[in-house]
Structure formats: structure tokens, C-alpha cells
């Protein structure tokens, strides 16, 4: 299978994936900043999805660079799991919203040391 893939695609030069990596970094950075700065739990969740996608994009880029499909396999897994996770996480968010009538993440700090 890898042989057919490698015959279908030709390896590209490292410089050519830099754009893909840059976009990936941008996505990850945006997600991180959003996650750190926003307090709305749904937005924070979206930001984590953004970070996922940044990572996934980097994986695809490297898979293309190295001509190794395992990176793409990973991405498919990530997408699948992320979908399941989204269902779960949104359910949790709804649950938390019901408890305290707010989506602000700061009201949940029981894990704190003091």
C-alpha cells in the first residue's frame, strides 16, 4: 500500500512544507492563546479543537515530507477521537452549566490547594 501511495505522490522538498507548518503553528498558537485567555468553556473547548487541528496539520505535513503514512493514520484517529470527545465534552459543559448557571470556567476551582 505504501508503495502505491509513494508512486502516486512524489516527495517534496522540505522548504515546500514550511507553509503548511506555519499554518499549523498559527492554528496551534491561536488555540493556545484562546484557551488561556477566554473563560467561556465552549470557546475554550473550541480552542482545544483548534490546537488539535494545528497538530494534525503538522502531522500531515511531516507525513508528506517523510513519505510515511502513519502520520496520516494518526490524524484520522485524532479526528475520530476528537469527534467522540466533542460529544462527551459538550455533554459535560451542559452538565456544568446546569450546576452553576454559567459557562465561566473560573467558578470551578475545587481542585485548588487553598
Amino acid at each position: 500500500m505504501s508503495e502505491s501511495l509513494s508512486s502516486a505522490l512524489t516527495a517534496i522538498a522540505p522548504a515546500q512544507i514550511s507553509i503548511a507548518l506555519a499554518i499549523s503553528a498559527l492554528l496551534f498558537g491561536l488555540g493556545l492563546i484562546g484557551f488561556l485567555c477566554r473563560r467561556n468553556m465552549i470557546i475554550m473547548f473550541l480552542c482545544t479543537e483548534l490546537m488539535f487541528q494545528g497538530a494534525a496539520l503538522a502531522m500531515i505535513a511531516f507525513a508528506r515530507l517523510r513519505m510515511d503514512v502513519s502520520g496520516q493514520v494518526f490524524v484520522i484517529f485524532i479526528l475520530t477521537v476528537a469527534a467522540a470527545e466533542a460529544a462527551l465534552a459538550l455533554g459535560l459543559v451542559v452538565l456544568l452549566y446546569r450546576r452553576k448557571e454559567t459557562l465561566n470556567s473560573e467558578v470551578w476551582s475545587e481542585l485548588g490547594e487553598s
Binding site: L32, F35, L36, C37, R39, M44, S105, E106, W108, S109, E110, L111, G112, E113, S114
Partner: protein, 719 residues
């Protein structure tokens, strides 16, 4: 005398004599009777059984010692059983430690045991009547402790090694502790008992260290081997290890015999019942120090100043205690200070080099002092604890008190060293040696001793003239009449001196005269006091050997058994005193001191008692003299000084340490170390605030740090 001279300066060698093991029964019998007394206590015996058992066992001990004395030929070592012993390396001396339960019997041992067991028997008989108000648990406890005392004293005297001596030494301390604190619900008795034990412990430490020192230098602590090592080794006093031995042993002796630095416990020990004061704190236990020095006399010559120190301490104690005794009002306290003073004489004798004088004085003193204490006890017993000599008068005119008065008179004459009493000769032996010495300081001590003799005669007869002579007058003590149960020996008046209420309370008080046991023992003791003078009379008038001198000459204390004038004459220069031969001079001066003291006492305390108070008032009014009687009455404030310098400073130190231990070492250092992880945790605690983003920031920061470090390494590698 010639027989003695041939033996001088030869320490007798002991032979092994296992067949004499029955002498150990003299030690074992009191132990058995103590077990019986303890059993009586457990079985709640209410009869006089403990006293009877104790008296019989002590009398048997006395008989055993008498038998051993009659069969005595020379020093023997009697093994009984192994107590502490082990060895290492090649074994032998310096490679083994042996302290067995064994006896060393020589003349000194027998000499001591004779009066210890004899007086022990008599005083037990006396106590059987004296203590009868306490029959029951207290009675059993009393005779249990008396038996323990006799056992320990026998171990002290009979033991063949210094560990046995130490066993006895501490054992008599224990008995003394239990008996002083006999009336344990009285805080003063408890305090006195504690004080006695602790002050003795100070001396005991010196003794223990002295024992170690002897072992370190001679490799053994058995007398027979020690004396052999000593006489063959020829140790010279260059090494401090060797020369420290006498000083360490001396400390032990001073503690037990209540000499100057450690004497304050003995007057307080009068809290105990009077038979105890007579037996333990006058006649026997306190002479253990004299025994120790006499027994180890050769080792006291290891340092040239050792015996001089003993002499000075003894002479000083004699004088100081006599001055205090002059100003006390409590009869027992007067006698307690006189005991200290007489013990001082004995140490003076040992120090100036006459073990004979010291040991002979021990013997005579044991009899007359026991007599005096027992007479005082009879008075106290009859007058409900009254002991204040200002509140008793004319006892010899009261029916039933004649025997007490006149036996007490005998005791007083002996204590005052009235001419041609036994104590006169024994004191004479000591002072003669001091006054005919080559050393000026010893001669000065001799004069100090004569001064003390005059003071002694004064304060002794002050008591007798006040209490037994004069018009009949008495006030009862504050104690409940003793058929109401436990009777207490102390009166509270003794503590502070002025209890004016008692007279009114006991308007119809009838003194309770002593019965046969007390009177009988007093008479026997009075006769005994006369009898112990016989050797001296024979020596003086018939020019025979003094029995006591012969006994001492057959022991390790032989160096001091000679009378000094024999030495002096042999060396060719006869010392003089006031232009007379020392012997004559001393007889004259000593007699006049005694008679003078008695006359002064007669004048102030019988002839015109008001004058005594006038003189006292006169003295007190002058600022430059007034402090002297006050200070004498307050025992020269020695207790107070000790309290401030030692006890208080140590108490404060202990409080500081206690505080430091809890709040510095524990709370600050230990808990402080334990708080280091806590403090570290507190530094990082803000990162774990519970806010979701907080954790994210931490994570991002961590990643950033790792990245920064990795890139720094990479960059450095690239260069």
C-alpha cells in the same frame, strides 16, 4: 607496746578461709529478718512480731561476731558466692573485674561489727517499745528498714572488696532514706530524707570514682590483693592518677560522715524516729566514713596533703558544728550537731595520723551518743514530742524520769569528755597526736580541738542543766498523745521555735514515763559507756596494751595505731606544750576545758538562767557582735548558701534547658526541618490554584522552559 612495734608498717596478708562462711550469717540474718518484716507487712501483722524477729536476728549476728572474735587469729578472706565477675583477654589483674560476695575479716572488721550489731540489738529492743504506737504497717516498715540497714552496714564492714563496700554504702543510704522519711505524710520528713540521700550520693560518686581509680592503678578492688599490690608496688605520688585516689575516697567519707562540705543533711535527718537517729545517725552509719579511711589507710599516704586535708576538714567541722550546736534549742538538733562535731574529731584523728584514736573515739562515741539520743527520745516520747530545751525543766525531780535523767547525765559527762571518762581518753589520743606533731598546722588543729572541747562541754551541759535540773516545769509538745495512732517525732516548734499555744492546750498534761525496755536499754548503754573506758584505764593505770589499739594494729590501719609519743621519743625530741610534757599538758588543759565549759553552762543555765538571756540580749544589741548568735542559730546560713549557689542556679539552668528543649530544639529546629518541604510546597502552591487556565499556563510555561533549554543546548552545540 613492743608487740605492736614489730607489726607496724606491715599490712597483714589475708588467707583464704572458706570454712568460715558461717560468719556470712551475720550479714544474712538481718536480711532474713527484713524479709520476715516485709511479709508481716503484707499479712497485716499487728503484733510486735517484727521487732522480736529483728531483735533476735541482730542478737544472733552479735553472737556470731563474738564467736568469730574469740576465734580470730589473723586476717581471712571468706568467699561466699560470685556477685559480679567477668574477665577478658588473658585474665588476671587488669584483665578481669571481680567483685564477689565475700568477707574480709580482720581485727578492724570485728571491732566495727561488734559495736554495730551490739548497739543494733539494744536499739531494736528500745524501739520495740518506742514505736509501739505504730503497730501495724508502720511498725513492719520500721523494722524492715532497720533490718535492711543492719544488712547493708554488715556488707559495708564485712565485704572483701570495694564493690561490696559500695553496696553497703548505698544500702545504708537507702535505709537512712526510708527511716528519715518514716513519717512520710510530713513534707519536712520527706524533704529531709531526699536531702540525705542526694547529699550522700555526691559523696558516693567520689567513692565510686575512687574505686575506679584504684582498679585502674592496681587492677583489682579486693582488699587483700590491693594491700599486697600496695605494699609491694611502692607507688609514688607523682602521677595524678595515683594521688587523686585519697581525695576521691575522702569525698565519699565526708558525704557519709557529714563533714564540712556535705554536713547539712545530718541535722535534718533528725526528722526520723529517735531510735533511728541514735542507731544510724549517731552510732553506726555515720562512722562508715571513718571506717573507709581506716580500712584504706595506706592509700591515704599516696599524696602528702591527703591526710592533712582530712585533718583540716575534721578539725574545722568539729569547731563549726560545735558553734552551731551552742545556739540550737531543739535537744535532738544539739545532739545532731554534737555528732557532726565528734565525727570531726575522728577525722582530725585520722588526719593527724592516729587511726587508733579515731577508731577508739568512734567506739566510745557510739555508746554515749546512742545513750544521749535514746534519752532524748524517751523525753520526746513522754512529753508528746516536746524537744525544746526552754520548755522542759527539772526532769530529775519527776517520778519515773530519774533513770532517764541520770543516764543522760552519764552521756553528757562522756560527751563533755569529763576527766577520766572513756571519751576523755579517746579524745586525748587524738589531740595528743595533733599537739605532738612536727607540723605547726597540726598543732594549731590540736588547740582548735581543745577550744571545741570547751564548747562541747558547754552546750552539752546546757541541755542537761536546762532539761533535767532546776525547778520542775514543762510544756507538752504539739503531738497527739500516742495512743491515738501514729505519733510524730517532730514538733512543729522545732522548725521555727515559737509555739506559745501548746501550754494552754495541755494544762492537764501528764508525761508518760518510759517502761522497762527503754529504761533497761538506757541503763545497759550507760554501763556500756563505762565499760568501753576499761581498755583506756588499763592502758593508763596498769600500762597494758589498749584493746582498741591492738585491734587497730591487726588491720590495714596499722600505720596509725601507735601513739605519737612513742614515735616522738624514739626520734629523740620530746615536744612540749605550755612548758609541760605534752601528755601532762594535754590532761591539764583538756580537763580544765571540760570543767570550765560545764561550769559556764551551770552558771548560765542552772544557777541564774535569766543571766543567759541578758547576755544574749546584750550581744544582740551590738551591731558588731549581734550577728554572731543569729548566724549560729541559723547554722551559719550554710543551707541557704547551698540553696542559692547550687540548687537555684541549677534549677534555673534546668528551666532554661527545658524551655530550650521544647521551644528551640523541638519546635524550632526539628519542626523547622520538617517545615522545609512545606515551605517548598508553599512556593509552588499558586500554580495549583484550581483555575483551569492556571494549569494550562503552568503547562505551557513548562513546555516553554523545556523548549528554551533544548534550544539553548542546541545553540551552544552549534557554535
Amino acid at each position: 607496746m613492743t608487740a605492736l612495734a614489730t607489726q607496724s608498717h606491715a599490712i597483714p596478708h589475708a588467707v583464704m578461709a572458706p570454712e568460715l562462711a558461717w560468719v556470712g550469717m551475720a550479714m544474712l540474718l538481718p536480711l532474713l529478718s527484713s524479709v520476715v518484716c516485709a511479709l508481716c507487712g503484707a499479712l497485716r501483722v499487728k503484733s510486735k512480731l517484727p521487732a522480736i524477729v529483728t531483735a533476735i536476728s541482730l542478737a544472733s549476728s552479735f553472737a556470731i561476731i563474738l564467736r568469730a572474735y574469740s576465734a580470730y587469729t589473723g586476717p581471712v578472706d571468706v568467699p561466699i558466692f560470685e556477685w559480679m565477675s567477668f574477665e577478658w583477654g588473658r585474665g588476671g589483674s587488669f584483665h578481669s573485674f571481680t567483685a564477689n560476695c565475700a568477707l574480709y575479716i580482720d581485727a578492724l572488721t570485728l571491732y566495727w561489727m561488734l559495736f554495730v550489731t551490739g548497739l543494733g540489738t539494744l536499739i531494736t529492743i528500745y524501739a520495740s517499745e518506742y514505736m509501739e504506737g505504730d503497730r501495724g504497717a508502720g511498725y513492719c516498715r520500721f523494722f524492715f528498714a532497720i533490718s535492711i540497714f543492719l544488712f547493708a552496714m554488715s556488707a559495708l564492714v564485712l565485704g572483701d572488696n570495694l564493690a561490696m563496700l559500695y553496696l553497703g554504702w548505698e544500702g545504708v543510704g537507702l535505709a537512712s532514706y526510708l527511716l528519715i522519711g518514716y513519717n512520710y505524710d510530713r513534707p519536712s520528713a520527706v524533704a529531709a530524707a531526699k536531702k540525705a540521700f542526694i547529699m550522700n550520693r555526691i559523696g558516693d560518686l567520689g567513692l565510686a570514682l575512687g574505686i575506679f581509680m584504684l582498679w585502674a592503678n592496681y587492677g583489682t578492688i579486693q582488699y587483700s590483693e590491693l594491700f599486697v599490690a600496695m605494699s609491694s608496688g611502692g607507688q609514688t605520688a607523682v602521677d595524678w592518677h595515683v594521688s587523686a585516689i585519697p581525695f576521691l575516697l575522702m569525698l565519699g567519707a565526708f558525704g557519709k560522715s557529714a563533714q564540712i562540705p556535705l554536713f547539712t543533711w545530718l541535722p535534718d535527718a533528725m526528722e526520723g524516729p529517735t531510735p533511728v537517729s541514735a542507731l544510724i545517725h549517731a552510732a553506726t552509719m555515720v562512722t562508715a566514713g571513718v571506717y573507709l579511711i581506716a580500712r584504706l589507710y595506706p592509700f591515704f599516704e599516696l599524696h602528702p596533703q591527703a591526710l592533712a586535708t582530712v585533718a583540716w576538714i575534721g578539725g574545722g567541722t568539729a569547731l563549726v558544728a560545735a558553734t552551731i550546736g551552742m545556739a540550737q534549742y531543739d535537744i535532738k538538733r544539739v545532739f545532731a550537731y554534737s555528732t557532726i562535731s565528734q565525727l570531726g574529731y575522728m577525722f582530725l584523728g585520722l588526719g593527724v595520723g592516729t587511726t587508733f584514736g579515731a577508731c577508739y573515739h568512734t567506739l566510745t562515741h557510739a555508746f554515749f551518743k546512742a545513750l544521749l539520743f535514746l534519752a532524748a527520745g524517751a523525753i520526746m516520747h513522754g512529753f508528746a514530742g516536746q524537744l525544746d530545751l526552754r520548755k522542759l525543766s527539772g526532769l530529775r525531780h519527776i517520778p519515773g524520769w530519774r533513770i532517764v535523767s541520770w543516764t543522760m547525765f552519764v552521756g553528757c559527762l562522756w560527751l563533755a569528755a569529763f576527766p577520766f571518762t572513756a571519751a576523755f581518753f579517746s579524745k586525748d589520743a587524738i589531740l595528743l597526736q595533733a599537739l605532738s606533731s612536727d607540723r605547726a598546722d597540726f598543732r594549731a588543729l590540736g588547740w582548735l580541738g581543745l577550744l571545741t572541747a570547751a564548747l562541747t562541754a558547754y552546750y552539752t551541759f546546757r541541755v542537761w542543766f536546762r532539761v533535767c535540773a532546776g525547778p520542775v516545769h514543762f510544756e507538752a509538745g504539739t503531738e497527739a498523745p500516742h495512743d491515738h495512732g501514729a505519733h510524730h517525732d517532730a514538733d512543729h516548734a522545732r522548725q521555727k521555735g515559737h509555739d506559745r499555744h501548746s501550754a494552754a492546750v495541755h494544762a492537764a498534761f501528764h508525761p508518760h514515763a518510759p517502761r522497762w525496755a527503754i529504761n533497761g536499754v538506757l541503763i545497759v548503754l550507760a554501763i556500756g559507756s563505762l565499760v568501753v573506758g576499761v581498755p583506756a584505764y588499763k592502758a593508763v593505770f596498769l600500762h597494758e596494751d589498749n584493746w582498741a589499739q591492738q585491734m587497730i594494729a591487726h588491720s590495714s590501719a596499722v600505720q596509725g595505731a601507735m601513739l605519737s609519743n612513742d614515735h616522738a621519743h624514739s626520734e629523740g625530741h620530746a615536744p612540749t606544750m605550755l612548758g609541760m610534757d605534752v601528755h601532762t599538758g594535754l590532761t591539764v588543759v583538756g580537763s580544765s576545758a571540760a570543767i570550765g565549759g560545764i561550769l559556764v553552762a551551770w552558771f548560765f543555765h542552772l544557777h541564774s538562767r535569766r543571766r543567759a538571756d541578758q547576755v544574749r540580749g546584750e550581744l544582740l544589741r551590738r551591731w558588731w557582735l549581734g550577728w554572731i548568735p543569729t548566724a549560729m542559730e541559723h547554722k551559719w546560713y550554710v543551707d541557704e548558701v547551698y540553696h542559692v549557689t547550687f540548687r537555684s542556679t541549677m534549677w534555673i539552668g534546668a528551666q532554661i534547658l527545658n524551655f530550650a528543649d521544647r521551644h528551640f530544639l523541638d519546635a524550632f529546629v526539628v519542626d523547622g526541618v520538617a517545615k522545609i518541604p512545606l515551605a517548598l510546597g508553599r512556593v509552588f502552591r499558586p500554580l495549583y490554584s484550581g483555575a483551569l487556565q492556571g494549569y494550562a499556563v503552568t503547562m505551557a510555561g513548562g513546555v516553554a522552559l523545556v523548549l528554551a533549554w533544548a534550544s539553548w543546548v542546541w545553540l551552544r552545540g552549534a557554535q
